[in-house]
Symmetry: C2
Subunit: 170 residues, 2 copies
Amino acid sequence: MLIEAILKRHSVRAYEDRKVKDEFLKEVLEAGRIAPSAANIQPWKFVVVQDKELRKQLVKACENQKFVGEAPVVIAGCMVSKGYHMGGFYDSAILDIGIALDHMTLQAASIGLGTCWIGAFTESQVKKLLQIPETVRVAALLALGYPKNPLVPKKLRKHIDEVVSYEKFS
Amino acid sequence: MLIEAILKRHSVRAYEDRKVKDEFLKEVLEAGRIAPSAANIQPWKFVVVQDKELRKQLVKACENQKFVGEAPVVIAGCMVSKGYHMGGFYDSAILDIGIALDHMTLQAASIGLGTCWIGAFTESQVKKLLQIPETVRVAALLALGYPKNPLVPKKLRKHIDEVVSYEKFS
């Protein structure tokens, strides 16, 4: 079932003009809330945008990607604190928020909703629109809604032998 | 079912001394292989360590965490290329690998296996042991095996009202 959800999830850029049921939105947010994070710091906060006017303004902040204004929900994944110092060389916060957002996409897929990661955005503009404080960073945004086309599994990944080796790197 | 796997997954630091069935290991790796990544770059490679001697040597490289040598499998998540430039200010590769490793932990939980994220490690030592090239970085390691104690859901997360706001950050 997990594998099925992972396979079904893909970037949906065409949405029906229809509000997401509160119950579904709750489930999606819950999958993010219960995500793990390094040292359980939970360095995140999620801003859920449903207001039509605000979503339209987000389009410009997201490099004019039209679907950002068409999806009934846009979620901004915000980094509100530092995370754990991983491997002595990087902070886990971005990774942690990525996992939480990923869980949201999987839960959405498992109940037939579409999502799309938004990595092309101008952070300063998003922050201004959503009144996000100076010290908080925006890791990524997600579009969420009913997909115009059914979710079908895609197979666009490298072969397992390309990405896994045993006992040593090769 | 997804929610169940997320809730069941927690850090397992006590493992049975028993090889993980090949079929199970395959399923876990598959959940990582099919993970999404920004622009589908798949900037990852996973080194699977089962050799007992090598696992023992990894203990020292992982700040002497004993369970690293006791778990029958240790997986190193390696970053072999840059990812996508997210929000104009960071590279997605670490986030991408985090999602792939997270999928492995969820798949493991869903078939009754335990995992533990390892963020406390000395990268140079891990790289030397696994013959990882200079230019490749180690994002995190995972321990994997049969947990000594059954996986039971934990509830250690912030309340939803603490992590979600609507229309604006608050």
